[in-house]
């Protein structure tokens, strides 16, 4: 029940004709995700939902403040308007967890189940990002956000062993890429978001079936089922943006459009700083592929629901090649 009102809230927020309607959609979204995240029986999830509520309502009130002052447009000089848009976009960046405002994100994700993580990584970013796309004005602040997202996610993801936190820092990295697409051409944002959602869904589906939360649970996980092991590794390579897989396509489009719009230094910095995230994906992949300890007391062999996981992973990984092949027929 709360899931449908979660979807409805974001859709209201996107399709609103006034700022107040947009704010109401964000409130409905928050109101319906908190019961999904909260659980009376579990310390982790009640604390996570509490912290999420606090940060999101603070961001909502800052958003409302800038909306109400912008509406009283007696005082609107251009300089005041750009400062208020700075406050407005800061509130929205707090809502999605972009880097100067990301400090709530790893702690909260650490306390959630995989289903709630999936909602937080994918659907919760839709409404604030689309609102940012409607209102963004290119400034040094947006560049600062992009570069600090890359830096912070690269550096802080290096010392993590909890897989939820690794995925959080990779999510912050991808948020940086998505904000940079808003500078150049906005349809690429849609491609980036869709492909990131598909890859995230596949990875989180594998993790939730195996019930894995930490790196040391990985090397005994898929030893009997080598197709799933390879698909898992290919999904992580795709998330890192390596060419034969589908994750390369949005990064390629982004870099091409940034270079055509003359943001050469920005695209160079982004590509270089993404390499550190690729390093910790590789560490996760080595944990599954290489280490095989023969003297383990607790062998776990999970049954995968073979058909749908295979199909979904196949689409996510090899979809790129099939797309380029399809161009021959149309």
């Amino acid at each position: 029940m709360f899931f449908s009102s979660l979807l409805t809230g974001s859709l209201i927020s996107i399709s609103a004709s006034s700022w107040m309607g947009m704010w109401m959609g964000l409130e409905i979204n928050l109101l319906s995700i908190i019961p999904l995240m909260n659980s009376n029986k579990n310390l982790f999830s009640s604390e996570a939902s509490l912290k999420y509520f606090v940060t999101q309502t603070l961001a909502s009130t800052i958003l409302l403040f800038s909306i109400v002052i912008m509406s009283n447009n007696i005082f609107m000089v251009n300089q005041i308007k750009s400062n208020l848009l700075l406050i407005f976009s800061s509130a929205l960046l707090t809502k999605i967890g972009a880097a100067p405002f990301h400090f709530w994100f790893p702690e909260i994700v650490e306390g959630l189940s995989w289903f709630n993580c999936m909602i937080l990584f994918t659907w919760q970013k839709v409404a604030p990002m689309i609102i940012m796309m409607y209102n963004i004005e290119f400034s040094e602040f947006s560049l600062f956000t992009v570069i600090s997202s890359m830096l912070i996610s690269g550096v802080m993801g290096l010392n993590q062993t909890s897989i939820r936190k690794i995925l959080t820092y990779s999510s912050i990295n991808h948020i940086g890429w998505m904000i940079s697409t808003m500078i150049a051409m906005e349809t690429i944002w849609l491609y980036y978001f869709l492909i990131y959602t598909v890859i995230s869904l596949n990875i989180i589906m594998i993790f939730s079936i195996l019930n894995i939360f930490y790196l040391k649970q990985l090397f005994i996980s898929m030893n009997n089922n080598f197709i799933m092991k390879f698909f898992f590794v290919f999904n992580f390579l795709s998330l890192g943006g390596l060419p034969p897989f589908m994750g390369f396509f949005p990064k390629w489009m982004t870099v091409q459009n940034l270079v055509e719009s003359n943001f050469l230094l920005l695209s160079l910095m982004m590509v270089i700083l993404t390499l550190t995230t690729l390093f910790f994906y590789l560490r996760v992949m080595f944990s599954t592929l290489v280490m095989n300890m023969m003297e383990i007391n607790y062998l776990i062999d999970s049954k995968f629901n073979q058909f749908w996981t295979l199909v979904s992973n196949f689409v996510s990984i090899f979809g790129f090649l099939i797309c380029t092949l399809l161009f021959n027929f149309f």
Partner: protein
């Protein structure tokens, strides 16, 4: 004049929200104070349109929903952790 007053009220509420060190209930109270200052601001804005205050009721309803959600989270926290002190939030880092 009222406009400047509502902005000062908002920033005081924001400072009070960020500086609470012991109890979670005080943070929720300062959140309600922030909402009250925004409500005053909306009143000022709507008074320019020949006193059309209908929208302020809708705004108030949504904000009260948010406050009620905060209180229910406080209740949930007391059921799991036993108190509402900030220092008892150490499960997650």
């Amino acid at each position: 004049m009222f406009f400047a007053f509502s902005i000062i009220m908002y920033f005081m509420g924001l400072i009070s929200f960020c500086m609470k060190r012991k109890h979670f209930l005080l943070m929720l109270l300062s959140l309600e104070f922030i909402v009250l200052s925004l409500y005053l601001n909306i009143f000022i804005y709507l008074s320019y349109f020949h006193f059309e205050y209908y929208f302020s009721m809708i705004f108030l309803t949504m904000s009260v929903c948010e406050g009620a959600l905060g209180l229910s989270l406080l209740v949930s926290m007391i059921r799991t952790h036993g108190n509402d002190y900030f220092q008892s939030f150490n499960m997650l880092w």
